[in-house]
Symmetry: C2
Subunit: 213 residues, 2 copies
């Protein structure tokens, strides 16, 4: 197809498509004349992946380049490819302080112990492990270090959600679209769960506090 | 205590304390001379609440004023006071489109059916219900409307987390600090769960995809 059709099918403007080609995010089309190139279905899929990483995942062009390198490496195992993509969409809680120091070190210990206790496979220096430690240190910092006692309930709930996610992905997503689905599902799944947690809070709060005058 | 000690105890600068008093967020101290006022423990607690709403919850001054009005209203039931605070810290997923229209209407139906199915008490027009509908519509928009099939797994996980949250709050938090704890716990709990979901993903992905070459 011509670049105009590629633009219509993906909703990405022609100048933006050309920009992605220049930045090395999208392979150039096959030249059919000095001024015309032909594009394939692989370009449609790649553009959808780029837009998902950009619009939903909030990645920079450099971050997208790294994910795409992982996708394009035929020797890279799927698990590793997905991990590279997922590591780029880890939300970071910034507590605005100059680093809690000792608290963060203790929180990292807590996270390592949790990962070991749950038998979770994966590297301990994953960005998500550090994000969790930062959130725990921030809780400790505002006097709620005891909140760490709910960690195992949270972890069990996260396992249930992750199983549902992977189950959906393995049944519904073809290999070519795995990374796109993981990025979209990771970010939108966060939003879904945060909203559901609030709805469940309202219900639990009504049951605990709702009967008083 | 003098304003200097209040500043030291809370880490909030004296000019900022005066600004909060002018904005009506913090009650003025008791004047002990034309140029001096005395502050109490209630001021320390209120400053901590303001900072939690501001730094952790990301609320505006107007939003903080609304939460504080709910906290200060002695006739307001605890459940309602907590709901007012929680409704202010609902993260919104912005899909950047001009509104999915029909998709959003269908997603709202899905959310209403879910709330009914789970027997969740609470008003259907809660900001969290709308956030959930927006996330579902966005998923549909990128071709993953089928992901809604995981909703009940997510909801069951959210119930477990909410029970653990309320259990912690009812055992560890005095009434005066309830709102502060709910705001901090809501925002930092989101960050905790998002990180745990990624760690659980890495484990689940390793089990599903990790054995291939």
């Amino acid at each position: 197809m011509r670049i105009g059709e590629l633009s219509r099918r993906t909703g990405v403007s022609v100048p933006t498509i050309k920009y992605y080609v220049r930045e090395g995010l999208l392979p150039a089309g096959q030249l059919t004349s000095p001024n015309q190139a032909a594009y394939e279905e692989t370009h449609v899929r790649r553009l959808r992946l780029i837009r998902a990483l950009l619009d939903v995942g909030g990645l920079s062009v450099a971050g997208i380049r790294e994910v795409i390198a992982a996708v394009d490496d035929p020797g890279r195992p799927v698990h590793d490819m997905l991990g590279t993509a997922a590591d780029r969409v880890v939300p970071r809680y910034d507590d605005g302080t100059d680093g809690p120091g000792e608290r963060l070190a203790a929180a990292r210990e807590t996270v390592n112990a949790l990962v070991e206790r749950r038998g979770w496979r994966g590297h301990a220096d994953a960005p998500a492990a550090e994000s969790l430690a930062i959130a725990l240190a921030a809780l400790d910092n505002v006097g709620h270090g005891g909140f760490a006692e709910v960690l195992d309930d949270y972890a069990a709930a996260a396992e249930r959600v992750a199983r549902a996610d992977l189950d959906y992905v393995s049944r519904n997503v073809v290999r070519e679209e795995l990374v796109e689905s993981v990025v979209v599902g990771t970010v939108l799944g966060d939003a879904m769960f945060a909203a559901l947690r609030r709805l469940a809070h309202a219900d639990a709060s009504d049951r605990v506090f709702g009967t008083e005058a």
